[in-house]
């Protein structure tokens, strides 16, 4: 792969190079595996024969459903190798034990107790490999009254508190329900925390060479991801209200989302910043379109006058200024003058963002079996000493079976046939 900065990222190793990760994960844990793989770890994804059920999640290439065409699966499984293995067979368990003995980390998302019921619990797996780290990332963790509850992204966004904070002002959408932000972010929240825990265990292991077991909970990860909502309750007993496109709050706050000329919105944080100095800068910004109104009136040197005119300034002048141009124009005009504003963009608009191109963000990923390559989103952070990179597209079902089972574990081609016929791989 090459990135669009033109630097050759082939020659340098990622920060996690040399680590072998076994991933036994569905939609709950595949993102965590991608985070590890894109940073250079050798992530071997172990799927049941026939492929992981998350291959059935759309959208699909050309809207043609097929386990090798799920764009969701493609995205969340970059930089991994893939093998198939049926852990519910004796042969499968034996092969898994051999792989585990030579691995650094196992990431699994089975229901609590499943691996133990197969004799593949951490205590058993670590015996031949004391440095082994095993992370179980499950909806509610390995203990507690909700341990065996079923979940989904929407369920986690409800119980985690995301929905209680997100939605609409009554004046914008009367009787609106709490809204769960989209995109599958419950799995992202769980994946981020699981990655952190695994990395902490790995850093610890560089000193002690001892592994450990990690019991990570997606519900807890989501419950931790609502900024100050918990503090508002713990310290002030407040339960916050939902407000259109802006922060939850105990009372109603001025709006921050304004409609631009092209129908897109701009997030403009103005309230709470209205000092006489700010009014002067705001006048300069609004004047770029000749729309400063009365902002240069000396009366605004008086904070009391500003306070009395908050609605005039925000709902009048700022709203009119944004309505007079496109969201992108307002965004850049404001940022160029030091205002922390942003256009509310649909994801596809990011492909046109020159800043991302400057950072070499977009990556061409080859899909050799299709004879095509596609543009994927790139790195959250630039590691200047050990590059992030997508080393390969998501694995095809069992794509690396012979590489792992034959080249690495020494099985013959004939062995592979027997395993396939017996639904082991």
């Amino acid at each position: 792969m090459s990135d669009r900065r033109g630097t050759d990222t082939h020659t340098q190793l990622g920060p996690l190079a040399g680590l072998r990760i076994l991933e036994l994960a569905d939609e709950k844990g595949q993102f965590c595996g991608k985070l590890l793989g894109d940073l250079g770890a050798d992530v071997v994804k172990i799927e049941p024969p026939g492929g992981e059920p998350s291959r059935r999640i759309g959208p699909f290439l050309d809207d043609t459903p097929h386990p090798e065409r799920s764009l969701s699966f493609w995205y969340y499984n970059t930089s991994k190798r893939g093998i198939t293995l049926n852990l519910e067979t004796a042969d499968g368990r034996q092969l898994f034990e051999r792989l585990a003995a030579a691995s650094d980390v196992i990431l699994e998302t089975f229901r609590p107790g499943f691996l133990a019921s197969l004799g593949l619990d951490y205590q058993a797996l670590r015996k031949p490999n004391p440095g082994l780290i095993m992370c179980a990332l499950t909806p509610f963790g390995q203990t507690g009254p909700w341990r065996d509850y079923l979940s989904s992204d929407l369920l986690h966004m409800a119980a985690g508190g995301e929905m209680a904070s997100s939605g609409y002002d009554e004046r914008d959408v009367p009787a609106a329900p709490p809204i769960a932000p989209g995109g599958g972010n419950a799995w992202h929240m769980g994946g981020h925390f699981a990655f952190m825990a695994i990395m902490a265990a790995l850093v610890h292991r560089t000193v002690t060479w001892q592994g450990q077991y990690i019991d990570a909970s997606i519900h807890e990860a989501c419950a931790l991801t609502t900024e100050a909502a918990i503090a508002n309750y713990v310290y002030r007993g407040e339960v916050l209200r939902r407000q259109t496109g802006r922060h939850h709050a105990a009372g109603t706050t001025p709006r921050t989302q304004f409609r631009a000329k092209d129908g897109n919105y701009v997030c403009a944080l103005v309230a709470g910043r209205l000092t006489p100095k700010y009014i002067g800068e705001l006048a300069d910004l609004l004047d770029t379109n000749g729309m400063a109104g009365d902002l240069r009136d000396p009366k605004y040197q008086d904070p009391a006058v500003i306070a009395a005119n908050t609605s005039h300034i925000i709902d009048g002048l700022v709203a009119d200024f944004i309505a007079s141009q496109t969201a992108e124009e307002a965004y850049h005009a404001a940022q160029q003058r030091g205002f922390t504003w942003g256009a509310v963009r649909p994801p596809e608009a990011l492909l046109d963002d020159p800043h991302l191109h400057d950072r070499g963000f977009w990556k061409e990923v080859e899909h050799p079996e299709l004879g095509r390559s596609f543009v994927y989103p790139g790195e959250p952070a630039i590691y200047n000493g050990s590059p992030w990179r997508i080393s390969r597209r998501a694995p095809l079902i069992g794509e690396h079976n012979s590489e792992i089972f034959c080249d690495e574990l020494g099985l013959s081609r004939g062995d592979l046939v027997v395993l396939a016929e017996n639904r082991v791989i």
Binding site: A164, Y265, G342
Partner: protein
């Protein structure tokens, strides 16, 4: 004997402020790293203004509840970094530290003489994580963000809302939380790499850019299929699909119905339960939990295609039933029968009513000198050998100045007193807190 810590003997110089950076170092502290937070009261943002100070306690630099939760496990050094003496002290601190983390705008620390190259001369294997709005490279590196702006500009805000309405967005700075996660993830990855290779590095994290990969499937639908998110029926609120619009995946999971939030008894602001059925079998179980009402027996609800097509009627039927029970009772009945359901939970619900979070000890009290005993949020993972724990409350501003300057860096007590007198450790004209007077004895 206390268990060992994962980041035993790791020292972090923490220049971060507001929320995203401090949320990152909070977790490094929970893993046992020594976090030295460099602060200056004149340019403080994070302690003040505070909307989370208890009603009966005076608002000052030491009484923000949110600051306390965000900054447990840290020590505070108050220091004017923009003085020659302050700069020298920082450099001595970096020389005995492993990691520097900061979330200023892109050129700030470099302009202070504390850029990566300068710090490498002092500590060649330093891991340096910068967390800026747009990153240190790229034409808009000087743009600034708060969470909501990063969320807007990256496409995250757009994914939340009802079709035909303005974006509902995220009701908090999701990217301050998540930006903090990435800060900690970069730090841990950099430390691992350093321990394995002996090489430090500069890691350039951008809050806005790190939001973009969270839209992966939506972006691939565009780059591969040419389909954008700006289309009828998207985003579909809490549903997997908005009835009457083309059947297109919503990037949250499988396209199924029911998949929504339903009102529950007694109909208060947060009395909602979400229910999702991933299969016909799960739907039939829900029908049984509802007491097999006659409307649910209709053939139009027997298939997923039918339930998607008749979603309005389906949701009305479910809500008529859900409104007769409380959200926790409903959850228990559904889950006992193998139906996916959970309550919408406010902060109060999570702290007081969630039996799972209680069992997992998510909120345990810690004594804070100014705020008293207060519950703080614990880690969402349990490490068997090196548990992540909150052992220290958030520091009072400058609370550990003497300890760091004298005990760690070896300055004399006279030098500490001189530094207070000349404005290195506290603005000369600003009243000192009583614990600072104590420090100077």
């Amino acid at each position: 004997m206390p268990q060992p810590r994962a980041l035993e003997n790791i020292r972090v110089v923490d220049f971060s402020w507001v929320r995203a950076g401090p949320w990152a170092t909070r977790w490094l502290g929970a893993f046992g790293a020594e976090i030295i937070k460099i602060e200056w009261p004149e340019s403080e943002r994070g302690r003040l203004p505070s909307t989370t100070t208890p009603q009966d306690i005076e608002v000052n630099l030491n009484t923000s509840g949110n600051f306390n939760d965000t900054n447990v496990n840290k020590k505070s050094l108050s220091l004017n970094v923009r003085s020659a003496k302050g700069l020298e002290i920082v450099k001595r601190l970096v020389a005995v530290s492993d990691l520097v983390i900061e979330n200023f705008s892109s050129r700030v620390l470099r302009n202070w003489g504390l850029g990566y190259e300068a710090l490498c001369e002092i500590k060649p294997d330093i891991v340096y994580v910068s967390m800026s709005g747009y990153g240190h490279t790229g034409r808009h590196h000087h743009y600034t963000t708060f969470g909501p702006v990063a969320q807007a500009a990256s496409g995250l805000t757009y994914l939340s809302g009802l079709p035909g309405e303005p974006p509902a967005g995220w009701g908090w700075s999701y990217m301050d939380d998540t930006g903090g996660m990435y800060g900690a993830m970069c730090a841990l990855t950099g430390l691992y790499h350093r321990n394995m290779t002996g090489q430090g590095q500069h890691i350039d994290l951008s809050q806005m850019v790190s939001s973009v990969p969270l839209n992966g499937p939506a972006l691939l639908d565009f780059t591969v299929n040419g389909r954008g998110s700006r289309r009828p029926g998207y985003p579909p609120g809490n549903r997997a699909h908005w009835p009457g619009t083309p059947l297109v995946n919503n990037y949250r999971g499988p396209t199924v119905a029911p998949h929504n939030a339903y009102r529950t008894d007694p109909g208060g602001y947060n009395d909602w339960c979400v229910i999702v059925c991933h299969s016909d079998e799960e739907w039939q179980r829900l029908v049984q939990v509802m007491g097999a009402p006659s409307w649910a027996a209709s053939a139009k609800f027997a298939t997923v295609a039918g339930r998607l097509q008749h979603q309005e009627e389906l949701d009305q039927g479910i809500e008529a039933w859900s409104m007769t029970s409380g959200k926790y009772e409903l959850t228990e009945r559904c889950q006992a029968a193998g139906v996916r359901a959970l309550p919408v939970q406010s902060a109060e619900d999570r702290v007081e009513h969630d039996p799972q979070l209680r069992h997992r000890e998510m909120y345990l009290p810690i004594e804070h000198p100014a705020l008293g005993m207060r519950k703080v949020q614990n880690a969402p993972f349990k490490l068997s050998e090196t548990p992540a724990e909150n052992r220290l409350p958030s520091p009072l501003i400058g609370q550990h100045t003497r300890q760091i300057v004298e005990d760690l860096l070896g300055y004399s007590h006279e030098e500490l007193c001189a530094g207070f007198a000349d404005g290195t450790f506290w603005p000369t004209k600003r009243p000192r807190f009583p614990y600072m007077e104590e420090m100077l004895r």
